[in-house]
Amino acid sequence: MLVLTRRAGESVVIGPDIVVTVLEVRGDLVRLGVRAPRGIQVHREEVFLELQAANRSAAGEPSSEALDWLSKLGTKANRPPS
């Protein structure tokens, strides 16, 4: 891993068009600004990893039992409240 020391207000450039700027350092919190082109999504790592894991556990062919349950749930949810 490349390690660089930066002060508040200083930046690093990644590739031709991504700039990460240290905006503020206060105690153990560092505020970063990220400037990246359209199409580059920037995520907090832990959120992205959790989303990947959630998608992996969601993917798969539903069993016939699950499809049956879902279709009943859909009918129930769609029924206007009495």
């Binding site: 199409g39 989303l51 959630a54 969601a58 009918t75």
Partner: protein, 136 residues
Amino acid sequence: MSGDSRSDDVPVLHFDEGLPGFPDAHRFTLVPIGADSDGGLFRMMCLDADVQFVVAAPPVFLPDYAPEIDDDAADRLGLATTDDAITLLVVTLADPLDQSTVNLLAPIVVNVRTREAAQVVLRSDVLPIRQLLVAV
């Protein structure tokens, strides 16, 4: 996949970047679960890879769900107005089934005019990635 006649009749969603965890899954079709699409539940099946999801339409299950899509995501999907967007929530089936969850933090956002789609992480500290489907 010109040999797949179903893909000719059913709209194909295009995920330019795939989905987190599935970067190579770009084209999906939606197939209603149950009699028709009024039930708000669909199988979202990939045409590029052996990947499929169950997704839920918020109007049926969560009428109050009104995610705020940031400008960057709206730009990427070419969304000019919110009327052009629909959202779908990824369902994780569980055993037992009544423990199944939906992902409210990262809805799939679809531009209904262009069929461009992406799973968008909302800027929220309160929306869960796993919310019980039966409780919503």
